[in-house]
């Protein structure tokens, strides 16, 4: 799921600009995605009671009967937020922004299903830790929630499943989510990813139905379910783990859909997660390496043009170099990334 506030990360790092004056009605885009996912959660809970509730005789005993049930979804959110705070402080030296951890928590809490508590705790922990542990030249390779969920599904298939049921029977909540989601993604400049993926999915569903002999509507079925709404609005659009340009993002969305189709043709139940898990890091890696080479070439040209004064390699975090080679991420994560404020 979205693990970072989209707009700031999308822009190439440039020289610090003068802070813009904020109007009374201005809105921090970082709150849009958390707002949307919260809205989905609230509407879903109010209409169908989608939030998982577990009974706990132990909790009842411990609290003298005061509390006897808990929601593993909220436990997952709590774990993600606490992990983010601890790791952000420990590894980044500052308190991180919690929007992305909140989204990750909700995503994990909704997307995995288990009658036990520990999968929610560990999935949340794995999700957040992966953000700090798996980086290449300062960038994430995997979408953290996708990483956490995929790992749990793969490692503990007898304990964990993914959300696969329809929340409700009516079409209107989905339409509301789609309209609201589209509006927000448009504002964040990410709508093209979701649109590309959705169109590709539909076309490939047609292809799948031809190959398998199933009805087109059957093949289309999954994308009408709640799991896909979370997947296409939050997971594949995550700025921190998508490629950098719009064209590349569209290509990656198509590749994820294609990979998913291949997984589906082998009747893999967790096809979308595994598709993103496979395609995401590969495309990110290619981009990092590709941009690295381009950056090095530019640097070489710059050295030739500027003479011996410019000696630092690109991506070392200096402001001058950051301006000179915008697309090259630094080998060591910038302070704010280490702090986890964006993912």
């Amino acid at each position: 799921m979205s693990t970072s506030p989209p707009p700031t990360l999308d822009r190439p790092p440039g020289p610090p600009s003068a802070p813009k004056k904020k109007g009374l009605l201005s809105f921090d885009n970082r709150y849009l995605a958390p707002g949307l996912i919260t809205a989905i959660l609230v509407v879903g809970q109010l209409t169908y009671g989608i939030i998982e509730v577990h009974s706990s005789p132990l909790l009842s005993r411990l609290t003298g009967g005061l509390l006897s049930t808990y929601s593993p979804t909220f436990v997952a959110i709590l774990v993600c937020i606490v992990m983010e705070l601890v790791l952000g402080r420990l590894f980044g030296g500052r308190w991180p922004h919690l929007a992305s951890a909140y989204i990750s928590g909700i995503s994990v809490g909704i997307l995995i299903r288990s009658p036990e508590l520990w999968p929610y705790i560990l999935c949340g922990a794995l999700t957040i830790v992966s953000k700090y542990a798996i980086r290449f030249r300062g960038r994430h390779l995997w979408n953290p929630s996708n990483f956490g969920v995929s790992l749990m599904l793969f490692l503990a298939p007898l304990s964990v499943a993914s959300l696969s049921q329809q929340w409700g029977s009516e079409i209107w909540p989905i339409l509301v989510i789609w309209c609201l989601g589209a509006l927000i993604l448009w504002r964040l400049g990410k709508l093209h990813i979701t649109a590309t993926y959705a169109v590709t999915f539909v076309l490939l569903a047609l292809l799948r139905s031809q190959v398998t002999g199933q009805k087109f509507l059957t093949a289309l079925g999954p994308i009408t379910g709640p799991m896909y709404q979370l997947f296409i609005f939050f997971m594949i659009t995550d700025p921190k783990t998508t490629t950098r340009t719009k064209a590349r993002q569209c290509v990656v969305a198509v590749l994820v859909a294609v990979a998913e189709t291949l997984f589906r043709l082998t009747e893999e139940l967790h096809a979308p997660y595994y598709a993103l898990f496979t395609v995401g890091p590969i495309t990110n890696l290619i981009e990092i390496l590709w941009d690295g080479r381009r950056g090095a070439a530019k640097q070489h040209e710059a050295r030739k043009a500027a003479g011996p004064a410019v000696a630092e390699p690109c991506g070392n975090g200096t402001t001058a170099m950051a301006a000179a080679c915008p697309a090259v991420p630094s080998a060591a994560p910038p302070a704010d990334e280490s702090a986890g404020s964006h993912c």
């Binding site: 794995l126 542990a133 093949a219």
Partner: protein
């Protein structure tokens, strides 16, 4: 700390977390107590009982047949025609020997009434007594049967519920049966999968509750439309209506469903009646497929109020397929066991055991799910389950049958296709045409059954070790002391499979006591009567049931295991009429036949 060191530390933490996942995850069932090959002697020593399948030896050779419905459903016929195997226990001729009624579901197929001959064998008398031929084309096919003496003449009458016209038979003093359906005024067509006898208003006359699964207006043999499937996998509300039929005492019933506040149109697969809320009146528990369970609290026989949500039993929508009651902790309170679906990787719903949280308190009664804590949550695609003290140690054990569609073996199964449709929107899921064809594949097939032994609050599955090794597609389970030996035998009806009789052998030093009740002011069948037994500082309550589990009915007599060298203090009988009767130090090792004081 440099960035690199930080990243290495984070990576180590990640590896550690993966290690914890590997430690905590469920492993495929390993050896130990699930192992086969334990000798009878060893099983008796370890668990205090063992079961041996002996239907053929007992002269029973019944194999269930499934119906063949409208050809528009051909591609998913195994899913649609996946129910109908059902069994109920009765002593229809009052000879003191328990008989077995088993229904069939193929068009033109015959039901069987196995009369207990008293020599270890059974003889089918259904045809000669007139309760065999109930699957005639045009009338629907049988889904189950429950017995209850609706006219209080001392003989158990028979209700057969169907996907079609329910049928009521009057028991003519054990010599035959007379069809009284039309006179009784039963609904003309109900696609029902469960029914229960109960005396909801405690007027001494047995009433009926019939729960529809498919909507009534669907004729499964002549479909007007294929848009007849549930509208959602977890929130479906487009199932069949329910019927609460009040016994007017003149051989007729009146429909009081709406008047009594019952409005459910969920996909009910199992219903059980019992006093769960402590009002003294029987409440109704509905285990619903494709949605949450419902609990209708009885308001003094005047009204029912649905309290599923506030009571906790509707906390999460699952695939309810069984409702059975049992005093699992010897606490003097009945818990409710609801079976659901557990399929690794796909659908880990887990079964539920709803245990009272505090004392029953009418509408404010609260339940908590203890199934996971007790280890009785994972039972595959679970169907019928029954509580009973299988080893007479004084704790109620749990027998669960399971398995949905056993067709082709191997990895190629229907789960992927099922998950595609389960997640789809109403417009897609509700049309059978959109369901992918089964093509001979299995769906949760060939599952190992569970026999959970209660070890005083924690259960352990000992199925293969005690001799339960079948992998048929089990549906209905009933417990009965078929040979009057003071033990509970197990009868299992399998979909498109044989009727199994697991004869129980229990360690000799494990004692027991039974109570066979007959109402006078209360209904003659004593359905709803409770026996509260006190022995060795323990207390266990059991209630006479008019049908429970999945499409099943246990013996009416109540069986208590007592353990070794028991000292039975007393038994208190709570009759549905409200009066109580105390038996001081009833003798162990016999069946006490008790009539309600006039």
């Amino acid at each position: 700390m440099s960035g690199f060191v930080k990243q290495v530390l984070a990576a180590l933490l990640l590896v550690a977390l993966v290690g914890v996942v590997l430690l905590l995850r469920h492993q495929p069932a390993g050896p130990s107590e699930k192992d086969e090959g334990v000798s009878e002697e060893e099983a008796l020593k370890r668990y205090g009982f063992c079961l041996r399948e002996g239907a053929k030896e007992a002269g029973i050779d019944f194999t269930h047949q499934a119906p063949t419905l409208d050809a528009k459903l051909d591609h998913i016929m195994p899913i649609i025609a996946s129910m109908g195997a059902a069994v109920s226990i009765v002593d229809f001729d009052r000879d003191g020997l328990l008989d077995i009624y088993v229904v069939n579901s193929g068009e033109g197929s015959k039901n069987r009434l196995y009369k207990n001959m008293g020599d270890g064998t059974f003889k089918d008398v259904a045809e000669e007594l007139g309760v065999a031929d109930l699957n005639q084309p045009g009338t629907g096919v049988c889904m189950g049967a429950v017995w209850g003496d609706f006219d209080n003449d001392g003989y158990e009458d028979l209700l057969v519920y169907k996907w079609g016209r329910p049928e009521l038979f009057h028991n003519d003093r054990g010599k035959g049966f007379t069809r009284v359906t039309d006179k009784a005024g039963l609904p003309r067509h109900v696609n029902a999968n469960s029914a229960v006898w109960l005396d909801f208003d405690r007027d001494g006359k047995l009433d009926l509750f019939i729960a529809g699964y498919w909507p009534d207006d669907i004729d499964l043999w002549h479909l007007q439309t294929t848009k007849m499937m549930p509208e959602s996998f977890e929130y479906a509300n487009n199932g069949g209506r329910k019927y609460l039929l009040r016994n007017k005492g003149d051989g007729t019933f009146e429909d009081v469903t709406e008047k009594m506040g019952i409005s459910s149109t969920r996909w009910t697969l199992a219903v059980a009646a019992g006093d769960l809320c402590g009002s003294g009146y029987p409440d109704l528990f509905l285990a619903n497929d494709y949605g949450v369970s419902e609990l209708y609290a009885n308001q003094g026989g005047k009204k029912f109020v649905e309290i599923g949500k506030p009571s906790g039993v509707a906390a999460a929508p699952k695939s309810g397929m069984n409702a059975s009651f049992g005093d699992v902790f010897n606490s003097g309170r009945l818990s409710v066991y609801v079976s659901n679906i557990t399929e690794p990787k796909t659908l880990p719903q887990g079964n539920n055991l709803w245990v009272h949280e505090g004392a029953p308190a009418g509408e404010k009664t609260r339940f908590l799910n203890h199934a996971t804590a007790l280890g009785i949550d994972l039972g595959g695609w679970s169907w019928g389950a029954q509580f009973g003290d299988l080893n007479n140690d004084g704790w109620l054990d749990l027998y669960l049958t399971n398995g949905y569609i056993s067709a082709a073996r191997g990895k190629d199964n229907y789960w992927y296709d099922y998950s595609q449709i389960a997640g789809a929107n109403k417009a897609i899921i509700s049309d059978a045409q959109n369901w992918p064809p089964m093509k001979g594949r299995s769906l949760a097939g060939y599952e190992q059954k569970c026999v959970w032994l209660n070890r005083g609050g924690k259960f352990v599955d000992v199925a293969p070790a005690v001799g339960v090794t079948d992998t048929f597609d089990g549906r209905s389970v009933a417990l009965a002391d078929l040979w009057n030996r003071g033990v509970l035998d197990v009868v299992v009806a399998n979909q498109k499979g044989p009727l199994l009789i697991y004869k129980n052998t229990v360690a000799r030093d494990h004692q027991w006591i039974q109570f066979e009740l007959e109402g006078t002011k209360s209904n003659k069948s004593a359905i709803g009567a409770r026996v509260r037994l006190f022995w060795d500082g323990r207390e266990q309550v059991q209630e006479v049931s008019g049908g429970n589990g999945y499409a099943a009915q246990n013996q009416r007599r109540l069986h208590f295991g007592l353990g070794k060298d028991p000292h039975v203090e007393k038994a208190i009988i709570e009759w549905p009429s409200g009066q109580t009767q105390e038996l001081i130090a009833p003798e162990a090792g016999i069946c006490h036949k008790k009539k309600e004081p006039e």
